[in-house]
Subunit: 209 residues, 2 copies
């Protein structure tokens, strides 16, 4: 299909499609004449994916590029591809404060206790966890049991999510499922958590003025 039809099918504005092509988020169409190219279903799907990751996940364009590159690099094993995708989805941690090392040690311990030996030494989320614990630590004592409670809850959820991936799909589809799952089910979970908080807070505080 021509670019005009791609635009019509996806309702992504032409200027934006061109921008994504420029930025390398969308692979070029197959040249049919020097002045036109043929786009196909992979372009439609890619655009839909990019829109979800931007609008639901709020992932900035330069990290989307990392995601796309991981998906297109056939030399990577599936779990290396996932690892890169996981890194790309984590926002960079803020610059370390004075308690970062202590927080990192605690973060590593939480990961250890959760039994997550499959987490890489240099996983972006390992550092992000330390940064988050540091924020907590700056506000007072960190409740270690609380940390393990969250880790257990996260483990239950993550386990179910990975188990639900369809082993038989090809790598691009698998990555797409994984990435969309992380982002939109992540959003789902936080919305549900806030709803739960709203419910339990009215239950607990409805008598106080």
């Amino acid at each position: 299909m021509l670019v005009s039809e791609l635009v019509r099918r996806t309702s992504v504005p032409l200027a934006t499609v061109k921008y994504y092509l420029r930025e390398g988020l969308l692979h070029p169409g197959r040249r049919i004449t020097p002045r036109s190219a043929d786009y196909d279903e992979t372009h439609v799907r890619r655009l839909a994916l990019l829109r979800i990751l931007r609008e639901v996940g709020g992932i900035p364009v330069d990290r989307l590029r990392a995601l796309v590159e991981a998906s297109e690099d056939d030399r990577l094993s599936v779990h290396d591809m996932f690892a890169r995708a996981t890194d790309a989805m984590a926002s960079p941690p803020p610059p370390p404060g004075p308690h970062r090392e202590e927080a990192q040690a605690l973060a590593d311990e939480v990961i250890e206790t959760a039994g997550w030996s499959g987490v890489r030494e240099h996983s972006a989320n390992r550092r992000k966890l330390a940064a988050t614990i540091e924020v907590l630590r700056d506000r007072g004592e960190v409740d270690e049991r609380g940390l393990h409670f969250y880790a257990e809850a996260a483990d239950r959820i993550a386990r179910a999510e990975i188990a639900s991936l369809d082993q038989d799909k090809d790598r691009a589809d698998l990555l797409e499922d994984m990435v969309v799952g992380t982002v939109v089910y992540g959003e789902l979970l936080s919305v549900l958590r806030r709803l739960g908080e709203e419910n339990h807070s009215t239950e607990r505080f409805s008598d106080r003025y």
Copy 2:
């Protein structure tokens, strides 16, 4: 204390402090001369809170204002204050697509099934949930059992969080605990979830190339 000391204590740049004052995020200091004002611990705490909400939660300034206004409005009961805070922390839902109504019905059903009768009819998160379900729906059939699974997980977490709030604090401290908890434990949870995904995905896919 003078503004210079406030700046020193919080390491927030003077220009930023002035900006927050202008925007109504930080209450003015007590005037001591026409050209100087006295700031106190409430200003230090407020600045720390604003920084966390901005840097960890990524909450934009205009929603921070709504949060601050809820905290300062003494006519509000605690649960009304929480309700406003909850709304302020939810990003506005994207414009509805063709399946929004259907998604809203499903969202309401999920909330009902979770037993969350304390969730307001017009809670921002109720609409956010529908919007998120709509995204899922646009990618294929929505798995209702999956939805309930997430709702249960969210309920367990939210229940523990609300239970851990200290009933005896005053309203401003209570709101601060609640808001910081929502934001930073929310971040903690998503980081842990991604770590769990990384672990389980390497466990499951480490043999595939």
